[in-house]
């Protein structure tokens, strides 16, 4: 190692670096080209498309395509159906995020208790609905929520409560779909909470117990502060996912009853692929994007302040 051949020292690194650089480009090029072609380009094209009146006539013949500026956006903002979709989506998010996080947290806290038996089995079982096919389990839940033959109404009636027309009444359709969504996704955040809870040292609980803190006080003063940063991140990520609901209303209610479950993405799908108003549908996509972007920026800002983001 002490004697270095001068020619070798000169040639080796430069040749090595050149080869390595070429190899690196060969490794990243396919992925970067795919990302550029099938992700970046369509996103940019969506912005341009949203400034045109691309519709079924333009689909047949591009000569019918005109540049219309912000007209699609103006028309959207005066379209009550669009505002209805925005309102429904917000309702889904405002009710669904706290509900799903409360369910995840409760399950995580319970599973984190040492006295619970067979914890690894429960962990996997509670997560399992998350990986099931959404369309299939949505079909199952549509029958569980059936007004006459549904198991849920049977349960209600057997404890003396009246049956509910879950998916047929505009005032219960969103809560009904949310029951399904929470059932399906709570395991995901539960696993994240569990991972964080397992980093809380037992000594802290021990100390709290010695100080005479009961279960609630332990939760309030030990558990909650430990998971607060995670909870914040998780909740804001959940908002973004609730903004992208589509298959649930598509399968369970087809947007009904009385448009009460039309979400923004569902509205975009119908506008684009049912009526072939691709220009206007792209404008919907961009409004959706801006909403999600705003939430993400809030996420980054808040997380940075809390110091959870690395």
């Amino acid at each position: 190692m002490t004697v270095v051949d001068p020619t070798l020292a000169k040639v080796r690194p430069s040749r090595g670096r050149g080869a390595r650089e070429r190899a690196a480009w060969a490794f990243v090029a396919p992925a970067l080209i795919a990302i550029g072609l099938f992700f970046a380009l369509p996103v940019i094209a969506a912005l341009l498309l949203s400034l045109t009146d691309f519709d079924i006539y333009a689909l047949a013949n591009l000569d019918n395509l005109r540049f219309v500026g912000l007209q699609n956006y103006e028309r959207l903002l005066t379209n009550p159906l669009f505002w209805g979709a925005m309102k429904n989506t917000l309702t889904f998010a405002v009710l669904g995020v706290p509900l799903s996080i409360a369910a995840s947290l409760a399950a995580a806290v319970i599973l984190n208790a040492r006295v619970v038996k067979w914890r690894p089995i429960w962990r996997v079982m509670f997560f399992a609905p998350y990986v099931t096919t959404l369309v299939a389990t949505a079909v199952v839940w549509r029958y569980l929520l059936h007004t006459r033959y549904g198991v849920i109404n049977w349960g209600l009636e057997s404890i003396g409560l009246p049956a509910v027309d879950w998916l047929g009444d505009p005032s219960t359709s969103i809560p009904a779909i949310l029951m399904f969504v929470v059932w399906k996704i709570f395991g995901y955040n539960m696993l994240i909470f569990l991972a964080v809870l397992q980093t809380v040292p037992d000594d802290l609980y021990e100390a709290a117990r010695i100080d005479g803190a009961g279960s609630w006080k332990q939760f309030r003063h030990v558990t909650l502060p430990a998971i607060a940063p995670t909870m914040l991140l998780v909740s804001i990520i959940s908002v973004a996912s609730f903004f992208q609901l589509f298959a649930e209303p598509y399968v369970m209610t087809q947007g009904g009853p009385a448009q009460s479950t039309v979400t923004v993405l569902y509205f975009m799908y119908e506008e684009g692929f049912k009526w072939w108003n691709l220009g206007s549908a792209s404008a919907v996509a961009f409004v959706l994007f801006l909403c999600i972007l705003a939430i993400t920026l809030v996420q980054l800002a808040v997380a940075k302040r809390v110091g959870a983001y690395q």
């Binding site: 490794f27 299939a136 999600i292």
Partner: protein, 271 residues
């Protein structure tokens, strides 16, 4: 202390009941005779077990075709996604090239853009290429996974540089190093990412709904959604369809759950 233990175990049992009931009920009803589930109170077990709905699905409703489409697309998506993202993820972690940092920052920024934004232009693009209603069209979004690239990069960062350097001194080319040294070390994350892509493709709905216009190309979720609009009253038939759709992914997940959960937690801790 005893009471607390009993209460907690009861709570777990209750959650387990809520989680499992819809799935068990789905399986049970799929074996009931036509019309048996449409009574009040709803029966929980078939009075006698029958396979008639599974037979109907595969003989008359083309379920075998949909099952094949789903399986072929998920397998191809997995192979393609892995062969595009694994080398790229490794290169971003371990190989220096001009503009790497800037490119990476650009990709990080692009993560906030939901893929649905580009759905409409992507559809038009593939239409002009004649790829609507083809497997190729359905597979295209899986090639461009920024998330997958990150997952692999994150894992590849832990490969010690000395190991790669040693192989270089031995005269191995970069391609040989990738195949003989890097791929074996990346094996756990390859399984994880492959599982993510397979399940993601199998469960995907919006894109196949848009791009696969001909019934013979439908995947299971698209076919099931169409069937459920036609056969609203046939609870038993729909449950059999749901079982066929869910069972493969559920079994796959249970078999490989350690890889799935580990990868999921690694991906989410980084935000």
């Amino acid at each position: 202390m005893k009471i607390r233990a009993i209460l907690l175990n009861l709570a777990v049992a209750l959650i387990a009941l809520i989680v499992l009931f819809p799935l068990v009920w789905m399986v049970s009803v799929s074996f009931m005779a036509t019309g048996e589930a449409a009574v009040f109170p709803p029966p929980l077990l078939p009075s006698h077990w029958t396979l008639e709905h599974y037979r109907d699905l595969f003989l008359n409703q083309g379920m075998g075709r949909y099952l094949w489409n789903s399986f072929a697309l998920a397998t191809l998506a997995t192979i393609l996604a892995l062969s595009f993202t694994v080398p790229a993820g490794y290169a971003f972690a371990k190989l220096k090239f001009a503009g790497r940092e800037r490119l990476f920052q650009f990709l990080v920024a692009a993560l906030v853009v939901p893929a649905q934004i580009g759905t409409l232009p992507l559809f038009l693009m593939l239409k002009s290429m004649g790829l609507v209603n083809t497997y190729a069209g359905a597979l295209v979004p899986w090639l461009a996974s920024i998330f997958g690239l990150f997952l692999v990069r994150q894992y590849a960062l832990s490969i010690p540089d000395e190991m790669l350097e040693a192989a270089r001194i031995d005269g191995a080319s970069e391609g040989q190093i990738f195949r003989r040294v890097v791929l074996p070390t990346l094996q756990p994350i390859i399984v994880t990412l492959g599982l993510f892509v397979f399940l993601g493709s199998w469960n995907d709905f919006l894109w196949p709904l848009i791009i696969l216009t001909d019934q013979s190309n439908y995947t299971l979720p698209v076919a099931l959604a169409a069937l459920s609009r036609e056969h609203v009253q046939d609870i038993e038939l729909m449950m059999a369809g749901a079982v066929v759709t869910v069972a493969p992914v559920l079994i796959l997940f249970l078999a490989l759950q350690r890889y799935y959960i580990r990868g999921m937690l690694a991906g989410s801790v980084k935000g």
